[in-house]
Symmetry: C2
């Protein structure tokens, strides 16, 4: 237990699993229950799953730490959320879901206050609380994964914009007439630096005469993780492919640095696991492109909390709201 007796539960609605963690007031994860995301597309089944995890964690808390209490439940979800209404508008992880009032549904089955935010904002809140952004006022969090997301901390608080949609950092235009992006725009950061598009670029590159151990893999099965592993094993093409993603990321970082003059820009998300091949290239490119006075003071680094950032951020949301 942390320095006070309050704790919170963070829940991360993923496509495969729905981990729920009991987190103490210092950000320490006391216990995690990791259930499978229900296979059918009914929101009710997911609500039941989350409710079960909450009940189990609450039982554990009451038994092992009598006198302590849960402040609330923080829910993280990817996709388009309506934070004011507490609904999941659409989500890549939950197909066929449309405008699901997840907060109200959870409130109906739980006596705890329920909070929700998108996964990138929660990662920013988590990293700011006890991770790579600890002690800083102004932080830009970039989450590299299938796509590219972002969270903005201004004066110590998450900035959600005027209608809850701020922080779409993957959709900064970096190439005027560039690759078509899933959002409809051309040349977005996501269309160059995300795991998905890095794989696409690798497959395209392999159609040329380049030598690479990635040729042993059927292009249909090629993943960003493969590229990372082959880069680690010395494959130059894989290394170059990741470096290029980093270089593009650096263009986005330069834009963000010149706009925000932040204390830190933190790179998280699953694809940041390949950070050793991405982040140095990003820093080199950003240094050439952004104001020297800003870059001299700016910290650019990998996130510290890994996969736990979102769940810790979700718990924090419930502790501070």
């Amino acid at each position: 237990m942390g320095k006070d007796t309050r704790s919170a539960i963070g829940v991360d609605i993923g496509g495969t699993n729905v981990p729920a963690s009991l987190v103490d007031s210092d950000g320490k994860i006391i216990k995690t229950i990791n259930k499978k995301t229900p296979g059918d597309s009914k929101p009710e089944a997911l609500i039941d799953t989350i409710k079960d995890s909450i009940d189990q964690l609450n039982e554990k808390l009451k038994k092992e730490f009598p006198g302590s209490r849960i402040s609330g439940i923080g829910i993280g979800a990817p996709g388009a959320l309506d934070l004011e209404k507490g609904t999941i508008i659409t989500s890549p992880n939950l197909k066929n879901w449309k405008n699901v009032p997840i907060v109200d549904m959870l409130k109906a089955v739980s006596r705890f206050p329920i909070y929700m935010d998108n996964d990138a904002n929660l990662a920013a809140i988590g990293e700011h609380w006890i991770g790579a952004g600890k002690g800083f006022n102004n932080i830009i969090m970039i989450t590299l994964g299938t796509g590219v997301g972002g969270g903005i901390i201004i004066n110590g608080h998450i900035y959600r914009g005027s209608h809850g949609t701020a922080g779409e950092l993957g959709h900064i235009t970096i190439v005027e007439d560039g690759e078509k992006c899933g959002c409809g725009n051309k040349g977005c950061l996501e269309a160059y630096a995300s795991a998905n598009y890095t794989v696409k670029r690798a497959i395209k590159g392999l159609k040329g005469k380049v030598r690479s151990t990635l040729r042993d893999i059927n292009p249909k099965d090629l993943s960003a993780k493969d590229i990372f592993i082959h880069a680690k094993n010395g494959d130059k093409f894989s290394t170059h492919t990741l470096n290029e993603s980093g270089r593009y990321l650096g263009i986005g970082i330069a834009t963000l640095a010149n706009i925000f003059d932040p204390d830190a820009i933190i790179i998280g998300g699953g694809f940041a696991e390949a950070g050793e091949f991405i982040i140095p290239s990003a820093i080199s490119e950003a240094k050439v492109r952004s104001f020297k006075t800003i870059m001299e003071k700016l910290v650019i680094c990998k996130a510290k909390l890994g996969n736990d950032a979102g769940i810790i951020g979700a718990a924090r949301l419930a502790l501070i709201e």
Copy 2:
């Protein structure tokens, strides 16, 4: 006089003139004294000029509005400022100036509190107070002039970044390997949408076989104002040139919309006078590029206060600090 008896003086340090205005608590300019910027490069002469204006405005206030008082003096300056130290590091308007402690120098000759900020931040503060941004919480101000600057209002307050350098919106990369920008980067918004670079692009275009009434002007003398006037008179090349600047501005606006989800993006600065040929193109381009949910709610418009935005913002700074 405004609703209370406080007023403030706003000063705008320009390359040619140093206007100083007495502004009431409603943002109304009561009187302006417009002196020439001293020709020599000695800061002392400028301090004397500003002091004279302050004294004259204070005399007027005491005579005509007895009982009212000046809350402070707000100074606006272009260029690189150190807001913590109150120094002008360098300024395009004041050659040979380096690290001039303008705030301390003014404090030494005046009994009023002295505040300073850069011209784009002050324009944002002014427009937020009584201009196009009135009533909004989150505003992005883009100042189009010789260069492109910016001011960011978050939750009603100017956001200066962690080291006072935030808001360099002219230095968003919009074209990966684009035009070389004065800042050292390539493809900055400023290198496409500023008055200077618009003139450069026009001169380049005129080297081709295009028909244009701009051919009557010696390219060495061509100004952004000429292009605007010729566009107004129906010259298609001039219109197209300004539309193109607008289209590039739209790429920057799309990036800013997706990052900030603000209430409004306001276009000010001298070159915004040609806004009728720039802003509609910018909006069209931004609509194609940014999130539909953000664009539906976003106001994109021309600034309202024109040249007075900076001086009114400077006075506001002195009234609220």
